[in-house]
Assembly symmetry: C2
Homo-oligomer: 364 residues x 2
């Protein structure tokens, strides 16, 4: 694989995930600049890039730590030298609580709770490993998933504060139901509602004499609303560094830095105007829509099979022939990266590095 370094991107075998280094750097810088001289900090979410090299760039640009989704991602981060991590999720089951405790021997790896059974399991695991685990209370801010109602947060936080081996670190609440709303006014209004609920929970902890250092929320679609909401201390944005078709529509200040390279494998000889490439559902996800073909006039993606994407050209032929290479913008970068083993890093369309996506595809 590494023998492609120095070569043109068109020589990379396909399907492949490509990343434009300058765009990635500009996205990281742009977001870091937003948080410079503001009360809130940025804790970029690892669930998008899943690649330690990118986490290190984000920390180098001033991020206060890294957010991730699960213990297996935290293991990759700790192995890569990241010392301050928030798993923005409940950690389920004894086996994972034990792995989390183990990580806390080497780094500060916090997680969320929304149930006293989780508090008990974490406390037991911390005691067995002889460590202290930082814990935030997950607050329901409108996303139909996890989290206690704001008025229940102080009660659960008090349990955390009393539990052996746990350190109450604050609260979190993710407005995932808001981050993709296309209307900017609606997005702002709804994000502010969510953050008001989160800050209300934080204040209820303090009113009960409990500490609440971290107040964490936000995503790429709301960083500029939630990130300036009074009382919020951290934003968990992930997609901004690489972007995708869905987010580019609503957050045009970030550049689409990731593409999928594919090869035309068939001209679909029975179907006038069709072209078939070798990147399908096992290389690009489609839950947020079909990936967007780049730069082929009048031609768009119309179908994905497991190992093919079918392109159709309006009123004619694409001019593409078997063996030609094309690129797509992914519609959902977080799940698309999860399908790839590595990303090819480009500068001026030349490969300057191949980064292993160590956090991908680790289901447990």
């Amino acid at each position: 694989m590494e023998d492609v370094v120095g070569r043109s991107k068109w020589e990379i075998d396909t399907p492949a995930l490509l990343v434009d280094l300058k765009k990635l750097e500009r996205n990281i810088r742009r977001m870091a600049d937003f948080f410079k001289n503001r009360p809130a900090g940025l804790r970029p979410h690892f669930k998008t890039p899943k690649t330690v090299e990118i986490a290190r760039m984000q920390l180098g640009a001033g991020a206060v730590g890294i957010t991730c989704a699960k213990v297996s991602e935290a293991e990759v981060l700790v192995e890569g030298g990241v010392m301050d991590i928030l798993i923005a999720n409940e950690v389920a089951g004894r086996a994972k609580a034990a792995r989390l405790a183990e990580l806390n021997r080497r780094a500060d790896v916090k997680c969320a709770v929304d149930d006293s059974l989780q508090v008990a399991a974490l406390s037991e695991a911390a005691a067995q490993a002889g460590v202290t685990i930082g814990v935030v209370v997950d607050v329901y801010v409108g996303l139909p998933r996890c989290g206690v109602r704001p008025e229940e947060a102080a009660g659960l936080a008090a349990q955390v504060a009393k539990a052996d081996g746990l350190r109450l670190a604050g609260v979190m609440g993710y407005e995932g139901h808001v981050v993709s709303l296309e209307d900017p006014d609606e997005r702002r209004t709804e994000a502010e509602k969510s953050m008001a609920a989160l800050v209300q929970a934080a204040e209820s902890l303090r009113a009960a004499g409990l500490s609440c250092e971290i107040v964490s929320g936000g995503g790429t679609g709301t960083y500029n609303v939630s990130g300036v909401f009074p009382g919020v201390t951290e934003i968990q944005a992930g997609s901004y560094c690489l972007m995708d078709v869905k987010y580019a529509k609503i957050m045009p200040e970030f550049e689409k830095a990731a593409t999928i390279l594919a090869t035309v494998c068939s001209k679909a000889p029975a179907l006038p105007g069709w072209t078939v490439t070798d990147a399908g559902m096992k290389s690009m996800t489609r839950e947020f829509g079909l990936p967007e073909l780049i730069g082929v006039p009048d031609t768009r993606t119309v179908l994905l099979s497991e190992e093919h994407s079918q392109l159709q050209t309006e009123g004619g032929e694409s001019g593409l022939k078997v063996g030609d290479k094309v690129e797509f913008y992914p519609s959902h970068i977080c799940t698309t990266i999860n399908l790839h083993e590595r990303m090819y890093v480009l500068e001026n369309d030349r490969v300057v590095g191949v980064w292993p996506i160590l956090g991908r595809g680790r289901s447990q």
Copy 2:
């Protein structure tokens, strides 16, 4: 991982892909029995299990060889000792043609063509490696993807027969647009139309004095129609060995042998009647519908996030608590397996083996 062997399935960390060995064996035997004493043979598709242990079981039960979707899967199969492989796809680009030629030093790895540019690239790669590559002509039988029209098949086959380093092995045509039709009569009628087109192509080769040993088509939804169609020599069924919700509806003679094990990570305290597990879109795909929760009364999957599935209980609570484990049937087994590193093999709900899914997630 291997330390779970001998333990109960409920002790496996989650999310995890589980396979019931007896059901898998019965599915393999049932399909093998169908093809016993029939003119056509079974060449099971590796794109579903992606696991060498299963391919070996299928060969042991009488399969004539293995079908796969791409060169990286063929590499895994050859490494695992499989000697007769059909890549039921066009192989795109010089790099992959070279890899395919390399494999033909050690095994018989055939592929499909539908364009003279592919014929030229394969011929060049075969010459460079000093091998002969078996080639089938891909015939359009109604699926909007690859393949030449039946009346064009003999022309392209003649090019293959003349090309240095290539051996004309026959024709293939996949009726992928038919295999999931729910109405059995419509499925039969449409499959027969497709196979008639394929056999017409085969006959046109023979009429032109060309050899046509392989006439390959069919899938799990059409094996009993296409597999008895006069002139068809091989069926490429894949899903039958592990099955999923979609295929179980139309092919009840095979058992759902694969499940996803998940842990309840949150009782969604703000949402009465909801339960959240740790298996989301990064562990189970949803392009064919939501995965089916098993055995929790009045409770069903209503949403998938990246790392969560949300369950809803009709008119009450599920009785599940944080830390409990539940199982799902995947809606689409082929893409779901592609998300997992290994499968836990069970007998009487005890782990008897852990098989690496070596063919998964290799995009190139």
